[in-house]
Symmetry: C2
DNA sequence: GTATAATGATACCATAATTGTATCATTTGT
DNA sequence: ACAAATGATACAATTATGGTATCATTATAC
């Protein structure tokens, strides 16, 4: 997890906790103690991606666009870090010329699938409730 | 996996395949088609870490210092990428002030443990043999 | 016994990704 | 109209990654 994902997740959890009240970036910054312009950028991205709904103007801010149970950690990871992959080597350039490595690829892929399955079980609401 | 780990693993597999013959970097470079000075650096590190044994002088090179079954992918990852961690945020600075996140930490840690267990089953020899 | 081909050690460099900052325009509630 | 918010976007600093270059040292082959 990069800091993007981390900050975004914390922000979403906090917003979710404010049940329905519009939350501004400045409010979030005060609570989470993260750099303001950076967090702003992140929230704008989440807004574009449809995870947050934004309200402009005085006393504007952000609101969840979905149920907290429908906001998955994996989605945040995808947005800020691209598709979830443990071993990128193969994708960067050519597939590895060494057949032996393909055995590794299979093993890694199997692990990846497991992790992905587990990650898909993590939502904003389950972090709030502590399931 | 970073390219360090990737190159190193390929080199180790090749050396293991040369059963007992000393292998020079130039030989490896010809086979694996990776940049020579970079690979040299990597092998020097592996040598320092006791994974390879080095032979200086003309017709020198490297040899495995252990059985291929005792060279674990996790060790390479540790050497080139530091300890295996999916979520570094917590360790970089302070632990997260938000209690909610600690639930996440627990979940991530559990996933990490699983992955680590699986990775510990991957050795150079099992990649060669294809177990 | 010298040339050659290898590693040891180490410092440096280039590029890309990450982690931000800054600014101006636009919207909207008071 | 003003203040306080987001939208859009360009720029900048820092760090990690991937890679070079160089000089010294060692040992084998001839």
């Amino acid at each position: 997890m990069t800091r993007d994902t981390d900050y975004a997740l914390r922000a979403l959890c906090f917003i979710a906790g404010c049940k329905g009240k519009i939350v501004s970036v400045s409010k979030l910054v005060r609570v989470l103690k993260v750099p303001q312009p950076f967090l702003r950028k992140l929230l704008q991205i989440l807004s574009k991606k449809g995870i947050l709904k934004s309200y402009k103007g005085n006393s504007g801010g952000f609101l969840l666009n979905n149920d907290p149970g429908n906001i998955f950690l994996v989605d945040l990871i995808k947005i800020f870090q691209g598709p979830f992959i443990l071993n990128e080597c193969f994708l960067k350039k050519h597939p590895c010329p060494n057949i032996k490595r393909c055995i590794l690829r299979k093993k890694i892929t199997r692990i990846e699938e497991y992790v992905l399955k587990k990650l898909k079980g993590i939502t904003v609401s389950c972090l709030l409730k502590g399931d």
